[in-house]
């Protein structure tokens, strides 16, 4: 089997992990204010500046869309690359590697798109 098949399958996996990571990142508060690194600072100023904030404040509200949106681009890339390679590499073992990779990426892309639409 051409090594490129393994490369694209592995790269698809990396892209999906990155997409999942971005999606997850969008669901958490990434503010340095929430970070434990700044606990000393919060104590020093005697306040928790964001204590009363909800995550719906703009641009917090855009964070899930931004990260999930970029994650969806990564997932779409993860679907397109093995699918494109299948055009040139479609012997049975190659289909066995690239096919599931494509299906997995499409499934995850669908999941992210559903999140974006909701």
């Amino acid at each position: 089997m051409d090594p490129i098949v393994f490369f694209v399958a592995a790269y698809t996996g990396v892209l999906l992990v990155a997409a999942a990571g971005l999606h997850r990142l969008g669901r958490i508060d990434t503010s340095p204010w929430r970070s434990r690194v700044l606990a000393g600072h919060r104590r020093a100023i005697g306040a928790v500046p964001w204590r009363e904030r909800s995550s719906a404040d703009w641009p917090h509200s855009e964070v899930p869309r931004l990260y999930t949106g970029i994650g969806a681009v990564a997932a779409a890339a993860a679907a397109v690359l093995p699918a494109g390679l299948l055009v040139a590499h479609h012997r049975l073992p190659e289909v066995a590697v690239l096919g599931p990779a494509t299906v997995l990426a499409l499934w995850f892309l669908g999941k992210l798109m559903a999140t974006l639409r909701s």
Binding site: P49, L85, A88
Partner: protein, 782 residues
């Protein structure tokens, strides 16, 4: 006496002198390191021999041929086709590696072929032994190398002068046998300096770059050791900075937490004549951006299909090296246009007074000059590559250094134009500056602007008559120091000032951010310029300094990304409290994108190619292009558009403003850029790097490899993303900028200070403090 009176009336800085002193000390240290590396570069560059003779006594070529060859290389735009010492474009070969590999093969064959160990050993010794006599200026090469030179002169004549094109260059690009011979001499000299050991050293003038087993070129000890130390510097520096940040709360982020703001409706903010003039700047910016994406698409098409552009023989009129030249030049032009316009737009808001007389006319004159430079330089590059301008080719035609392709005449005009822009800013700011400490925001804004023409002018010292490594030293004063450090500084000042003017960040915090930026970039970015010079002929000490200090560059990128979020969230806090809507939603969203791409494109993808050991195998591959696109467009492009969105929000009336278009442009640009990176540039770069290590650098840069089936597929898969980027991202921006031009006259003129105030405080629970303008209450027009 008069001076003391003025000094006495100046508003003191809200920041302690310690910040100013530390920033000045670190900046001076950084500049000292840069000058020191320049001195070392001049002292230790590879010599250009007066004569190159064979052991039989035949003169093969001369120093005059080498210098003339460099001129042929530059004026024909070959640095925008392939590369030399790894620097240049990505379609054609690296001519240093190409000549070295082909000549080593030829010599090996002459000595008995690859099957013979003796021949292999003899070939390695032949190339590694330095037979340059510094006293006479004569370089002696073996007879075998001399014969190969003749053969390769024929080879370059056939490839660079091919009558049917189909290689990215125009058909019959270079056909003059004398020029081909000079060009081959230039390539031969570069290959000699990359293989022959430096006197008294066990590595070559280029730290053994390119990798070439046939001549025993492998990574030097410095390349490996400084890669490791560079990693340690990154990890240690990041940890130390975050620890210090957490422990001592340097920034002390908090905005006007107890105050409520009401943002002024953009339509009711008065605009001055110079501000209205910026509508044309932003339209020009958007138009140049569209053209840049189109010529970029054309250059990308050459990588997908060398034969033709959907049946059209594009290489006859718009060869790869021309469209690529325009692509990289326009990237600087359109971003700079936005930055110039944003500076002019901001001044009346800073000073809150009418324009000085004829300020608007001067702004239009600047725009006219800019258009003349852009059009003149582009036409000059087109004509210059076709042999126009005779002996004045480097003045009006194609100067040929990547990113400094424009002729020297246009380069001088551009520098003067930027200086003229500083004068325009000075006229607007003059009275305000007289009343401010030099460590306050108005002066920092002015100093950051002043630095732009000053640093850009350093690029004028790149002379085609100098040896390559010296030209590269000055070239990167623009490509790295100007773009990556001083534009970054100006950007930080602008963004900080905008947030202060909008009332969401206190001046003291903005000042801390700016001084911290100066400290961090001076510590890493200035000396880190040397990471571009690892293998271009500088001594190993420059490689060491470049590797170590450039690792620190990632730290401020990470840190400023965190900082940018804090900054933006402070704005968000006010947005959620304000009764009036925050008017700059999309300008801020573009800043959010800057934060994302700053970390991924500049930080992660930049560091990916930054270690000397990685750069050794990957320089000039798609991984470099991946970093260049995600950092240049992702950071500076998004910033330039963010500035445009900020100004257009005021220039376009509320009923004509379209959030939908802004949203479409924002998402399309980000999706298109991410697609370009994830689908094509990153995987292609990884494949190319693997091939470079596994098979050879020469092979990984060959047209055969670049255009093979798998790579071709990856290139074609980029098409949908590029279409989204251009149609969904660039064109809506052009339309919005056109709306700005169309409706720019609808605002009322400035009658009082309040007309230029961007917010009012509804309720103040803490003592009033000075804003950027130093005035909270609206007063009569002075």
């Amino acid at each position: 006496m008069a001076t003391s009176t003025v000094t006495a009336t100046r508003r003191p800085s809200s920041l302690s002198k310690g910040w100013v002193q530390v920033a000045a000390l670190v900046a001076l240290s950084g500049l000292f390191g840069l000058v020191l590396m320049g001195w070392m570069t001049y002292q230790s560059s590879p010599p250009t021999p007066k004569q190159v003779v064979s052991t039989a006594g035949r003169t093969v070529f001369t120093g005059t041929d080498i210098r003339a060859g460099q001129d042929v290389f530059l004026r024909n735009g070959l640095m925008e086709y392939g590369s030399i010492f790894g620097h240049g474009a990505y379609l054609g070969p690296d001519f240093t590696a190409d000549y070295l590999h082909r000549s080593a093969q030829g010599v090996l064959a002459a000595y008995g072929g690859a099957a013979s160990d003796t021949a292999a050993q003899r070939t390695r010794e032949d190339f590694k032994t330095n037979r340059y006599d510094a006293a006479t200026g004569v370089l002696t090469i073996s007879d075998a190398q001399a014969r190969v030179f003749d053969d390769l002169t024929g080879h370059y004549g056939e490839t660079l002068g091919a009558p049917n094109g189909r290689r990215g260059l125009r058909p019959n690009a270079i056909t003059d046998p004398a020029q081909i011979r000079q060009l081959t001499a230039y390539f031969a000299w570069s290959a000699w300096s990359s293989a022959a050991n430096r006197p008294g050293k066990s590595y070559s003038y280029t730290n053994n770059w390119p990798p070439e087993p046939l001549v025993n070129n492998g990574p030097s000890a410095d390349t490996v050791v400084w890669s490791v130390l560079s990693l340690i510097a990154l990890l240690g520096g990041t940890g130390a900075l975050f620890a210090a940040f957490g422990r001592w709360n340097w920034l002390g982020w908090h905005g006007r937490e107890t105050q409520e703001l009401r943002f002024t409706e953009p339509q009711s903010v008065a605009l001055t004549g110079s501000q209205r003039a910026t509508a044309w700047f932003f339209f020009t910016m958007a138009a140049l951006f569209v053209v840049q994406t189109l010529v970029g698409a054309a250059s990308e098409h050459y990588r997908a299909d060398l034969g033709s552009f959907f049946g059209i023989p594009l290489d006859r009129w718009l060869p790869y090296n021309l469209v690529r030249t325009w692509h990289v030049q326009l990237s600087l032009f359109w971003v700079s246009t936005s930055f110039l316009a944003a500076g002019i737009f901001l001044v009346p808001m800073i000073v809150r007074r009418r324009d000085p007389k004829r300020q608007g006319a001067l702004a239009y004159a600047l725009l006219g000059a800019l258009v003349v430079v852009v059009v003149g330089s582009m036409v000059g590059e087109l004509a210059g590559m076709r042999g126009a301008f005779g002996a004045l080719w480097s003045w009006f035609g194609m100067q040929g250094f990547e990113y400094l392709d424009l002729g020297k005449f246009w380069q001088v005009l551009l520098t003067i134009g930027m200086a003229f822009w500083v004068v325009i800013l000075w006229r607007g700011l003059r009275k305000r500056l007289a009343a401010e400490s030099r460590a306050n925001l108005p002066w920092l804004f002015f100093f950051a602007a002043l630095a732009l023409p000053v640093v850009y002018a350093a690029g004028l010292l790149a002379q085609h008559t100098d040896t390559y490594v010296v030209t590269d030293y000055w070239r990167f004063m623009v490509v790295h120091l100007w773009v990556e450090d001083f534009l970054e500084l100006f950007t930080t000042v602008m963004v900080a000032y905008i947030f202060v003017l909008l009332g969401v960040v206190r001046e003291k915090i903005a000042l801390r951010v700016i001084f911290l930026d100066v400290v961090l970039y001076s510590a890493g970015g200035v000396i880190g310029t040397a990471h571009h010079w690892y293998f271009s002929g500088t001594p190993a000490a420059v490689l060491a300094m470049g590797a170590f200090f450039s690792a620190f560059e990632v730290i401020p990128l990470t840190f400023l990304t965190v900082e940018a979020w804090s900054f933006i969230r402070l704005g968000a806090r006010q947005e959620s409290r304000s009764a009036a809507a925050f008017p700059h939603r999309w300008a801020v969203m573009f800043l959010v994108a800057v934060g994302f791409w700053n970390f991924l494109g500049a930080g992660v993808f930049g560091f990916l190619v930054n270690l000397p050991i990685v750069s050794y195998y990957e320089i000039g591959t798609a991984l470099t292009a991946n970093h260049a696109h995600t950092a240049m467009m992702g950071v500076y492009g998004m910033l330039a558009i963010g500035f445009a969105m900020f100004a257009l929000r005021y220039l376009i009336p509320a009923d004509k403003w379209s959030d939908k278009l802004a949203r479409t442009s924002f998402w399309s640009l980000n999706i298109g850029l991410a697609w370009m990176s994830f689908v094509t540039l990153l995987p292609l770069g990884v494949l190319q790097l693997y091939h470079s290590v596994n098979v050879g650098y020469y092979d990984a840069r060959s047209l055969q490899f670049i255009t093979n089936g798998t790579n071709g597929l990856l290139e074609w898969l980029r098409l949908p993303g590029d279409v989204v980027f251009i149609v969904g991202g660039a064109l809506p921006l052009l339309w919005m900028a056109f709306q700005g031009v169309r409706y720019r006259g609808r605002h009322h003129d400035v009658l009082s200070e309040a007309d230029l105030q961007l917010f009012t405080e509804v309720e103040a629970h803490e003592p009033a403090e000075a804003t950027a303008s130093g005035q909270l209450s609206a007063g009569p027009l002075r």
